[in-house]
Symmetry: C2
């Protein structure tokens, strides 16, 4: 098994899940490799031309889980680096197919859909991304589908929705609120009436690994299937961290581009892949707050 | 005006049409430039990294007509070079936008649609390409739409249907039948019951140039809007070239992937762009046969 972006937010639990299933893991990271003896690390920059070819030749894996992409909070929606990741991803799939790889799972995004109020379904929902990030993921999906079909490489595409958990970038919602409250600060949020589909990062990783181990092809939503108002998520964070009175709901404007509801249809993930999330939201949030409490205490 | 692929089948009449409208034309070609004094030629390989940046810097154009792509008859449907053209096209649009370009027209394809029996419409017809070529064009369309929107670069996407005319690659239908019959050979074709939408290459070029000169944004079908059975086209070629009795209809199997009907809805082209084809099929075919007759006589 070859995992790209393996030192990232989803990559770390994905590697753990693969090891737990008894797989041999080759993993990529851009800078110095984490000191993990169970994993063969490949330090590589996939954005550099030729990087993919050398990587697949060295790793000689049959299965690929491609998570690497630009993810800097906020800026990733519009970063022109998204365009480079289209190229890098197609280059990687081409090299992997040419080297005899048999199956690939790539991280897609709910941002590929036209966001509306209906529950987002792999086949039925129109794909009309509102952002360069979503368009770049979808463009990659379109080209990769035809490329892999032609190469005889099985492709599954996991459309990831909202996620949270230990190790999240401090610039993202759950981490930002948890850290702020734990530090005794005031926290400004939107009114939080928008409904999102949150899944713990360990479940995101678990679902992607289950998908990789399955023979399901095509697009699969990776999500909980449950809509929850962002306000409720913030309240659950405050329940664990304390300081609900320090949350200023409505102090931040929600960008007009943010839709009211982004919730996944998860029938494919549950029935075809056979994956059901293990971590309920309340428990996942409490664990995440605990993780941040320990980290902040260390400083 | 900057035109890529300017020495190609559509590129040559497109350059002529731009000159006829009084535009200054910068044109690219991969090898030695044709000796055309009215045009500033740039010999460049857009598949080479950095090529696009140098090109837009040298040309300093406000408008871009991007026609370059891999087009070798037969093999272009599956060539992995299609993937390279996704990258090259996005790279070119990125460089053109960064250099202050204001409007781009890119050559798309009817192969981006799900081919069915309904008339293919820019908005209503689902986009489900059956080939790597179609998928690569569509992937580029998806990413380019978001990229250009973000850069403030106006983008129009001309989806080209079937075309024919002087200078066509001898491996393609009309040219192959015309040359074969003119040489007195027997010509093997399919039964020819499939219906296609044929447009003379001068009209394809004229439509793209009209689109470039307009302020219409988004996708526009570039086609005649008239469905004609391939058998009728072959018969019209034979009418001009002689030798209908030397056509073996049905001697070739039509690949099962070939749909019964590929016909465009052309309301956008006619009403919004204001372009109506000038060359009726019968006249266009006769002129094309004449063109081949002269070329073959020269040899």
């Amino acid at each position: 098994m070859l995992v790209t972006g393996a030192s990232g937010f989803i990559g770390r639990p994905a590697v753990k899940a693969l090891l737990a299933r008894g797989h041999e893991v080759h993993a990529t990271c851009r800078r110095a490799a984490p000191g993990d003896d169970d994993v063969t690390w490949h330090v590589t920059d996939l954005l550099r031309s030729g990087g993919a070819k050398a990587l697949v030749r060295d790793a000689r894996a049959t299965h690929l889980l491609h998570l690497a992409w630009c993810t800097a909070p906020g800026s990733f929606w519009t970063a022109s680096e998204n365009i480079d990741w289209i190229t890098a991803t197609l280059e990687l799939l081409r090299a992997f197919g040419a080297a005899g790889g048999s199956r690939a799972v790539v991280a897609g995004s709910c941002a590929e859909y036209r966001w509306g109020n209906e529950t987002l379904h792999e086949e039925r929902t129109p794909q009309r991304p509102a952002t360069l990030y979503g368009a770049s993921k979808l463009a990659t999906r379109v080209a990769a589908g035809a490329l892999c079909a032609q190469q005889g490489l099985q492709l599954a595409w996991g459309r990831i929705f909202h996620l949270y958990g230990p190790g999240e970038d401090p610039g993202r919602l759950v981490a930002a609120v948890a850290r702020g409250l734990l530090r005794g600060e005031r926290v400004a949020t939107s009114a939080g009436l928008q409904v999102r589909d949150f899944l713990h990062v360990d479940d995101v990783a678990g679902a992607l690994v289950a998908l990789l181990d399955s023979d399901v092809a095509g697009t699969v939503n990776v999500a909980s299937g449950d809509g929850v108002a962002v306000r409720d998520v913030v309240e659950q964070i405050a329940l664990a961290a304390g300081g609900l009175d320090r949350v200023d709901f409505g102090a931040r404007e929600l960008p007009v581009s943010e839709p009211e509801r982004i919730v996944a249809d998860v029938a494919r993930l549950r029935r075809e892949v056979g994956y059901s999330p293990a971590i309920p939201l309340r428990e996942g949030i409490a664990g995440t707050v605990e993780w941040w409490r320990e980290r902040l205490a260390e400083v």
